[in-house]
Amino acid sequence: MNNSEARNAIFASIRQNLAASLPFDAAHHAHHGHLDSDFTASVLPELTNEILIENFRENLEAVGGDCSVVYDETEAAEVLLSIIQQNNARKIALSDSPLVKKIAGFLKIDAEFIENAETHVLFESDLGVTGAQLAIAETGTLVLESETERHRRTSLVPPIHVCVLEAQNIRQTLGEILEILRSRLSRTITFITGASRTSDIELTLAIGVHGPGKLHVILIDKQEDE
């Protein structure tokens, strides 16, 4: 099979059919009027860090995610410890984020921490800890960029995902986030909003079908007391 032959045929067909449409287009346009091309998203007010955190937390909780706001890494480690203990996690997969490693370093417990785990190890892990590069407050969404961190599988395969997020990386809207992502485009970008879910059986909600059934965000807000 000739790829360029198929390509040329498709392009020829597109051009030919668009040309055939020309006489109808003018009449159609006049009949249907113009679309509102002036549409622009409304300009957003500057939001304080506190409001962004609150919006993020509220929207994350609305989709079943947990959110703990902490002051620093040691506090984050305490939250992580309690999550590990509550879920009786023995095998904990870590991404290669320095922040995640630092937080996990504070924990002196009898559990196995595995960095950059192979896929088959991830399948046996009880919990995955990653960072997130950005977050969207209006939807409670975590944004993971592959160029910064190896977190694609650690955030996906284990049944529990714990994500460490720094408050200064939260933006209110998806639009703002897309602008930032475009300027430094990673090969893989993953948006995560809550835990894995399905409604495929009688539209009944079931959690944790393929991805993690639990999502816990540890939000570090160092400016809290300033």
């Binding site: 896929t119 485009l185 495929d200």
Partner: protein, 482 residues
């Protein structure tokens, strides 16, 4: 697989109406997704403006589709993806098959893709001894049942919990249960063993960004992330209409699609994939193949009315809103794409010859147009297709004769008052043979043959009779009495 065809839509629909299990399964659709959608669209400012903007972006893209496709394919290849072109479904299947053979791969996991359904990819692979495993819960269920999807978003909507439980008992040997969580966890457990070993992952694409060569795939379950990140090779099947020009255009479509489809602000996961990984130590597949498929799409560009079919983002809102779909479900349409959007794109994709009934599978109520996030005028399209069918009609000569005769009598009656009065008198006389209690019930036999529309009309509803006294007569006699 006992698959229904579009040619027998009327029989399919009648059978579906008798299927109480199906009716039960469909009952919640409008209430659940319909109501959730209504709430979700209030969580965004200027919903109407978003719809207009989305449509404008789609129109702009389609009018310059060649340029945007060129841009998309160049940028995707620059980032390391391999672009393949397929004129039709057969070519697309052959490309997938060849990729699998070259890699000597037989362990294939699949994410839900309407494009792959459209070209019957699984059947094509199975013929060559490769059994791709569907990993979306709904798709896996219907794969186990050897059925086809009946909804664009929730493919197993036609099955009840009890039927699914029975299926799992039979096929994967679990204990009988009516707990949806148990059924879901079963799917997770079994499908993970396939993910662990898969060599190739096949997915669809929701949007392709021309300026970056990025593909975006939306989901709730996580199986698409697993399919596109664990195997060494990722193959994405993509219709050529899926392009948007700019990366930031995704903002609008990510606001519209989840809200319209499932009533969510955002689905749980979005994967934005631009080519392959940068370094061999990075995560993700070594190869990404994108198959750009025409399969009848470029033909739709030839007229603004048909072109709007290509603006569809496959949210399923028109299915959920459609009073016909709500009653008969997806299978009755006998086509891969069911519901209102299916009734307009199927005849265009596979030809009107075998799908003549689909454009009539609608009451033209306009509910689909109302909810469509990209404002596709589906009723306009249905009428356009009906006109096409009527123009190329091969109705019997008698039908044409009776129609001509009817219209000739009609125009005669309206040309002189005396003819009109005579016609009404005659009709009043004639209807005595068929009328009962002031209405005409089911007409069959001789009369239905000499007056053909009467037979068809009264097969499902009563026809009103002509009043014994006309309004004029009543008016006159009333005046005289005063």
């Amino acid at each position: 697989m006992n698959q229904l065809t579009a040619e027998t839509f009327d029989q399919n629909a009648r059978a579906a109406l008798q299927d109480t299990q199906l009716r039960g399964a469909l009952k919640n659709l409008a209430d659940t997704f319909g109501e959730r959608r209504k709430t979700a669209i209030t969580t965004v400012e200027n919903w109407e403006g978003l719809r207009d903007r989305a449509r404008a972006i789609k129109d702009e893209t389609l009018l310059h589709l060649d340029q945007y496709l060129e841009q998309f394919s160049e940028n995707a290849e620059k980032a390391g993806a391999k672009i393949h072109w397929a004129r039709d479904g057969r070519e697309a299947c052959a490309i997938v098959l060849e990729l699998l053979k070259e890699r000597n791969a037989s362990k294939v996991v699949k994410a839900k893709s309407m494009a792959a359904e459209e070209i019957h990819l699984n059947a094509a692979l199975e013929k060559e001894g490769i059994n791709p495993i569907e990993t979306d819960l709904g798709e896996w269920i219907i794969q186990l049942a050897d059925e086809t999807p009946s909804h664009i978003v929730v493919p197993a909507i036609h099955k009840t919990k009890g039927q699914i439980a029975d299926l799992f008992v039979e096929k994967v040997g679990i204990e009988k249960t009516d707990d949806v969580d148990v059924l879901t966890k079963t799917a997770r457990r079994i499908l993970r063993s396939y993910f662990a070993e898969a060599e190739v992952g096949i997915s669809g694409v929701n949007f392709g960004v021309a300026e970056t060569g990025t593909i975006l795939i939306l989901e709730n379950e996580g199986n698409i992330r697993l399919t596109t990140s664990l195997p060494k090779t990722h193959i994405a099947v993509m219709g050529i209409e899926k392009i948007v020009p700019r990366f930031t255009d995704l903002d609008i479509f990510l606001k519209l699609l989840p809200r319209s489809g499932t009533g969510q602000r955002l689905t749980t996961y979005q994967s934005l994939i631009t080519g392959t990984k940068r370094n061999s130590t990075d995560e993700g597949p070594e190869e990404v193949h994108i198959i750009l498929m025409d399969n009848g799409r470029s033909r739709m560009l030839a007229h603004p009315t048909t072109r709007q079919s290509l603006a569809c983002i496959r949210c399923g809102a028109c299915l959920n809103a459609c009073p016909v779909y709500q009653q008969i479900g997806g299978h009755a349409y006998g086509s891969v794409y069911p519901g209102p959007i299916g009734a307009v794109i199927t005849p265009q994709l596979i030809g009107i010859g075998k799908t003549k009934q689909l454009p009539y599978a609608s009451s033209l109520c306009g509910a689909c147009r109302e909810v469509c996030p990209v404002k596709i005028d589906i009723p306009e399209l249905l009428l356009h297709l009906r006109a096409e069918i009527a123009e190329g009609t091969n109705d019997t000569a008698t039908h044409k004769f009776s129609e001509k005769l009817a219209f000739q009598l009609y125009s005669l009656a309206w040309s002189r008052p005396v003819f009109y009065k005579f016609g009404i008198k005659m009709s009043r006389l004639m209807q005595k043979f068929v009328a009962k209690d002031g209405k005409i019930g089911k007409v069959s036999g001789f009369l239905s043959k000499i007056v053909p529309p009467l037979g068809a009309w009264t097969a499902w509803r009563d026809a009103p009779t002509i009043a014994p006294k006309s309004f004029r007569d009543v008016w006159k006699s009333d005046l005289e009495n005063k």
